[in-house]
Amino acid sequence: MAYQLYRNTTLGNSLQESLDELIQSQQITPQLALQVLLQFDKAINSALAQRVRNRVNFRGSLNTYRFCDNVWTFVLNDVEFREVTELIKVDKVKIVACDGKMDEKIANQPYLLAVAPEELAPLTAQCSN
């Protein structure tokens, strides 16, 4: 199950608002709206993992930190975000971060075998037979 972390973003909030409007007008059920949100979670998680490639660096001063339920919440002050093309300065920013390693794929990793390329060919040849 994908993180519901991204629901509190512009994209996520606008989807929730739209769904709320449809619920208000009784065009959809709350259950259906929930299903749509789950669909959104999957889509945004996979989109971020696969379609985004840029890197950002930042520096600032840490005001508060909190680690609860494997979720880090930081509040930083006077932060500078640097990307290749731009520099963004903010006086206060809140970072909410879920564990990036808690992934289903990783949970299944014990079942993955590492095969060297030279060993792979004979194996596939056997399979095709």
């Binding site: 972390l5 509190n8 973003t9 512009t10 994209l11 909030n13 606008s14 608002e17 739209s18 769904l19 409007e21 449809l22 065009q27 959809i28 059920t29 259906l32 749509v36 669909q39 959104f40 999957k42 889509a43 989109a47 971020l48 993992a49 379609r51 985004v52 490639r53 840029n54 890197r55 950002v56 660096n57 930042f58 520096r59 600032g60 001063s61 840490l62 005001n63 508060t64 930190y65 880090w72 919440t73 930081f74 509040v75 930083l76 975000f81 990307e83 093309t85 731009e86 963004i88 903010v90 206060k92 920013v93 809140k94 970072i95 909410v96 971060a97 879920c98 564990d99 990036g100 390693k101």
Partner: protein, 482 residues
């Protein structure tokens, strides 16, 4: 609206609209079978998509969501003088017509008009044909029976040329809510019964599936003359009662109130940021911002509640412990004490006070301090529970020979730090105010490292939102000192 993003930022952002679009597409496609299973019509799915896209466009998240990235200048639409006179009853409606690639609004010329409409567009002339109805969030309806033309002017207070005198009729209740990405912003100076409701268009009336049209023709609603259409802004939906300003999607809203003559002068501000996908000016940001703030406030409130619940759970425990002690340790005297209200003046005389002498002038303070000193009195009324908990904490934290001044302070104001230790806390309102910010990053962490007070953050797959503008990153590495 002043945009702080240089051109380079827009180049950097150009991947984001595609990302958002692809996410929207994926979600809608994925939801298609869900809708089918529920037996919901396809049209509802399309409505959802339109609503969603409109809201995203309206926000400042992606400024170059559309091809064009021109900031929308502000126009002033002057309505004919007769309009004002005819606007006795609140039934004028101004509907923005559907345009394919350019929002067209034509405003009628008015030399002696009292009312003005401020329109902000992306630079294209705006044509408003006859039969256009404009309804503001405050419930005022304006209908334009004569085609009006709005062209770009310089400055906010400029008056547009109006080729045709416009007659605005009052209309009754608007019939069909017209979905249109454009929102009209109207302000009324005086309370009138005029109802102008700006309905945020969310569905392309043309029914075209073309994204270009969706992107460019936010005011894409065909209005047959004579039909009344309601345009309700998003702000209206969120704050129908309080706000007279309705934010057009992505439009700058100058808080302009034109006042040529007496009487009410409805000022309609229309910003066609549809093309721009601006978040709108300060006015629109008001309801939107407050709503967002409201949401975050709600979340903060929930957080606070949770925190307080945790704290409150601790309290009874703290209280129970002292209450259990006196029963076990004291003899019959304590039993007698238990039956006596702590706030009773007689307690001072009856109860043997160990520890520091009671020099407090406040009997209640003294009694509670006695309780605190001994922690032996079991009967504590509700008012003293808090004090006891406070003092129990203070005692556990400090030396047992805490002087009376500490207790007095905690009794006087439980929240206030006692003067001796007041310097320990750097800031007292960390939790409530600190977490309430517009700049949020939601992401995942690969690794968080700390060495003394030097923190290193290795983050990934994040969406950043600074003042409404969105950024994304695959990886983020940061340093901070605590």
């Amino acid at each position: 609206m002043a945009c702080i993003n240089p051109v380079s930022l827009q180049h950097a952002d150009c991947g984001k609209p595609k990302l958002y679009r692809s996410v929207i597409e994926d979600v809608i496609e994925g939801a298609r079978h869900l809708f089918a299973e529920e037996g919901v019509e396809e049209q509802v799915l399309k409505d959802l998509k339109q609503l969603w896209e409109t809201k995203v466009l309206q926000s400042k998240a992606t400024e170059d969501f559309f091809r064009n990235s021109i900031h929308s200048p502000l126009f002033t639409l002057q309505l004919p003088h007769s309009l004002h006179q005819t606007l006795q009853s609140p039934t004028a409606s101004l509907v923005i017509p559907a345009g394919r690639t350019l929002p067209k609004f034509t405003t009628a010329e008015l030399g002696t008009s009292n009312s003005r409409a401020n329109l902000a567009f992306s630079g294209y002339p705006i044509h408003v044909p006859a039969g256009v109805t404009l309804q503001t969030a405050s419930g005022h309806l304006y209908k334009v029976n004569v085609p009006i033309m709005v062209t770009q002017t310089s400055g906010r207070a400029s008056i547009l040329q109006h080729p045709v005198q416009q007659v605005i009729q009052q209309l009754g209740q608007p019939s069909v809510p017209q979905l249109n990405p454009c929102c009209l912003q109207a302000t009324t100076e005086k309370a009138q019964r005029m109802e102008t409701v700006l309905q945020q268009p969310t569905i392309l009336h043309s029914g075209t599936e073309d994204r270009k049209h969706l992107e460019k023709a936010t005011c894409d609603t065909l209005v047959p003359p004579g039909n009344e259409h309601k345009i309700t802004s998003e702000a209206l939906l969120s704050q129908p009662e309080s706000s007279q300003y309705i934010g057009l999607p992505g439009v700058v809203f100058p808080p302009q109130v034109s006042q040529t003559d007496s009487n009410v002068e409805p000022v309609v501000s229309v910003s066609a940021s549809m093309i721009q996908n601006l978040h709108g000016g300060p006015l629109f940001k008001g309801p939107q911002g407050t709503r967002d703030q409201h949401v975050s406030d709600v979340q903060l409130h929930l957080l606070k509640n949770r925190k307080f619940e945790c704290d409150s759970v601790k309290q009874p425990r703290n209280i129970e412990e002292p209450s259990s002690l006196p029963v076990s340790e004291k003899g019959s005297n304590s039993q007698m004490d238990l039956s006596i209200q702590v706030t009773d003046d007689d307690i001072n005389e009856i109860i043997q006070i160990d520890g520091t002498g009671d020099t407090s002038s406040n009997d209640e303070t003294g009694s509670t301090r006695d309780v605190d000193e001994n922690e032996f009195l079991g009967i504590i009324d509700a008012g003293d529970l808090k004090v006891l908990e406070e003092e129990a904490d203070s005692i556990s934290n400090e030396d047992s020979t805490t002087n009376s001044s500490d207790n007095e302070d905690s009794q006087i104001d439980i929240v206030e730090e006692d003067p001796l230790n007041s310097g320990d806390d750097v800031s007292e309102q960390d939790m409530s105010d600190l977490f309430d910010t517009d700049n949020v990053i939601v992401c995942q962490y690969d690794k968080i490292h700390r060495s003394k007070n030097k923190w290193k953050f290795y983050l990934k797959d994040g969406i950043m939102c600074f003042g409404g503008r969105d950024y994304v990153f695959a990886k983020a590495i940061g340093d901070a000192e605590w």
